[in-house]
């Protein structure tokens, strides 16, 4: 973990998202899939809280971040120009355990593709070819990115509006696969998607890891801001930023998780 002013080497625009290529050798060298960085957004009067972004890729001294514009911080990021500097802290958190099965399914919803893309890259390096399922709300949401990823990975796209890949949710797409097709599941996406996914594969008894999101303050495990309810005799919370963001399915108290907002 370190804090760096990373030189923004390149910005690419994909629909409502930007892909930032940042020079951060220390972070890139240390990062494993599932880890994230905390980005300071804004310059003269930056946002008080840094924004967490999963690492999309890390190689050759660079990390890539894929940020979808949803609010003030991400809007600011989307207007950065190559040559500017970005203040970030990372790599943070616990990443994915990668030796779970030789036929892994990677299931992403929206910007949840980020950590799974990194994971897919690393799995390929280890000669494990994952199946990547990526669901979007709108087919156009990430511009050309799906097409690009399709060239490099075994990718199944689907979109709710039917404009890209199959119409429907990514969980529906996954359900159409026969179960023995994969022997491990990795997922990242909106809460509802994770819920549907959990329901879908519950019986299968597969190793199942998820990258969760929660609002963060410190990002390093100090403030207890990013609590996620875990299974235990009495109410207890783990920290998404430090104990996660990757958790095993069994670790989470799903009822409490969905009871929250």
């Amino acid at each position: 973990m370190e804090r760096v002013l990373a030189y923004l080497q390149e910005v690419k625009y994909y629909g409502k998202a930007v892909l930032l290529s940042l020079e951060a050798p220390g972070v890139a060298a240390e990062a494993v899939p599932g880890q994230f960085v905390q980005v300071l957004c804004g310059r003269d009067s930056p946002r008080v809280l840094r924004r967490p972004f999963s690492i999309f890729s890390a190689k050759a001294g660079r990390i890539l971040l894929l940020s979808k514009v949803v609010g003030k911080g991400t809007s600011w990021l989307a207007e950065l120009k190559a040559g500017e500097q970005v203040d970030l802290i990372g790599p943070l958190g616990r990443g994915f355990a990668m030796d779970e099965g030789d036929r892994p399914a990677l299931v992403a919803g929206g910007a949840g593709i980020a950590p799974l893309h990194f994971l897919a890259e690393r799995l390929m390096e280890r000669r494990t070819e994952p199946s990547l399922y990526w669901g979007l709300d709108l087919g156009e949401e990430f511009g050309e990115l799906p097409a690009l990823l399709g060239k490099r990975f075994r990718l199944f796209m689907c979109s709710r509006d039917g404009c890209l890949g199959e119409r429907g949710t990514v969980v529906e797409a996954l359900a159409r696969e026969k179960e023995p097709e994969f022997n491990a599941v990795y997922a990242c996406g909106p809460r509802e998607m994770l819920g549907a996914l959990a329901k879908e594969i519950k019986g299968a008894n597969l190793p199942f890891q998820l990258s969760l999101e929660e609002r963060m303050a410190c990002g390093v495990g100090a403030c207890q801001g990013c609590a996620v309810p875990i299974r235990s005799a009495r109410p207890a919370y783990s920290r998404v930023c430090k104990d996660g963001p990757v958790f095993r399915f069994e670790e989470i108290d799903w009822r409490a998780y969905f009871g929250g907002s």
Binding site: M1, E2, R3, L40, S45, P46, R47, V48, L49, R50, D87, I89, E214, R215, M216, A217, C218, G219, V220, G221, A222, C223, Q224, G225, C226, A227, V228, P229, R234, P235, A236, Y237, K242, A256, G259, G260, S261
Partner: protein, 303 residues
């Protein structure tokens, strides 16, 4: 030559820039991001007698120049604090103050009693101002009579340096401070967060699962300065000041209105080097002004 050391009601601090309760863990979480050993001290997260799970998430929301939190005293309880957290806190070689909380008067007393005599803990900060719990916390800190009473009872069982941390969400904070001193406080710690709230206009749900939370950060700085100033005028005890301090200027403001030392909270989230930047800025400032010690700035506001 500037000598940054200050004495906070008997606690010798290497410098007047501490980390506020609840934002810095045991310090080890931040070890890779700043030299923790250069800080003036660390105030622990609230310690209660039993383990406390804290409030359900979401617990954090950003606001203009500030943030709301509703962590709610999550901690492992006194036993685990002493066994696990305290050694980690002490490992940095700087003064440690324990923030003590409770859901009942008895709980405060029991925690204080058990911390009494543990020499490595340089003092306790009695948190009668947490806005994030249904019982305890701020409810003990709002009325002068209950403050006198609670502080006096803690004073009986705790012989070390006793700081009392006040809530700013009262009409007359000077009155509450006087009550704390009457009860036997050696020093006052202020301010804790202000009760606040935010709502998601798309879902109509509160941004925090606990509905309300505590506001901290630069937004509250002018309110904190005024609170410190009010208290400095009416009590003759050192003040550990906090609230929106994010640079040396805000630290100096606090000293000028009467604080002896300051603590950094929320600003550590924005920039982990904040406390060290404050230290350097303060040292340069004192040098430039020809002032030998931070204590010489204390209360020097020109009216």
């Amino acid at each position: 030559m500037v000598d940054l050391r200050v004495n906070l009601a008997g606690i010798e601090l290497p410098n007047p820039v501490l980390m506020a309760s609840g934002v810095f863990g045991t310090g080890t979480e931040y070890r890779e991001l700043l030299e923790v050993g250069r800080l003036g001290g660390i105030i622990s997260k609230a310690v209660t007698l039993e383990p406390c799970p804290g409030n359900p998430p979401p617990r954090i929301w950003e606001t203009p120049c500030g943030m709301l939190n509703s962590i709610g005293l999550q901690n492992k309880g006194l036993e685990a604090f002493l066994e696990e957290d305290l050694p980690a806190l002490l490992s940095h070689g700087i003064p440690i103050i324990a923030n003590v909380a409770g859901f009942s008067e008895e709980e405060y007393l029991e925690v204080a009693r058990r911390l009494d005599g543990i020499g490595e803990i340089r003092g306790i900060e009695l948190n009668i101002s947490c806005p994030n719990v249904a019982r305890g916390g701020i409810h003990f800190g709002a009325e002068a009579s209950s403050v006198v009473n609670l502080v006096a009872r803690v004073r009986e069982v705790y012989n070390g340096v006793l700081l009392v941390k006040l809530s700013p969400q009262v009409y007359d904070i000077g009155e509450i401070a006087r009550a704390a001193v009457e009860g036997g406080a050696d020093a006052l710690s202020l301010v804790n967060t202000f009760p606040g709230m935010a709502v998601d206009v798309e879902t109509w749900k509160p941004r925090l699962a606990s509905v309300t939370g505590g506001l901290s950060g630069p937004a509250i700085h002018p309110l904190a300065v005024r609170a410190v100033w009010e208290v400095a005028q009416v009590v003759n005890r050192p003040i550990l000041a906090m609230g929106g301090i994010s640079g040396w200027e805000q630290a100096v403001e606090m000293l000028l209105v009467g604080a002896t030392a300051v603590a950094v909270g929320t600003a550590i989230f924005t920039d982990p080097l904040t406390p060290l930047g404050i230290l350097e800025g303060l040292e340069n400032y004192l040098e430039r002004m020809g002032i030998a010690s931070p204590e010489e700035l204390k209360g020097k506001i020109r009216l």
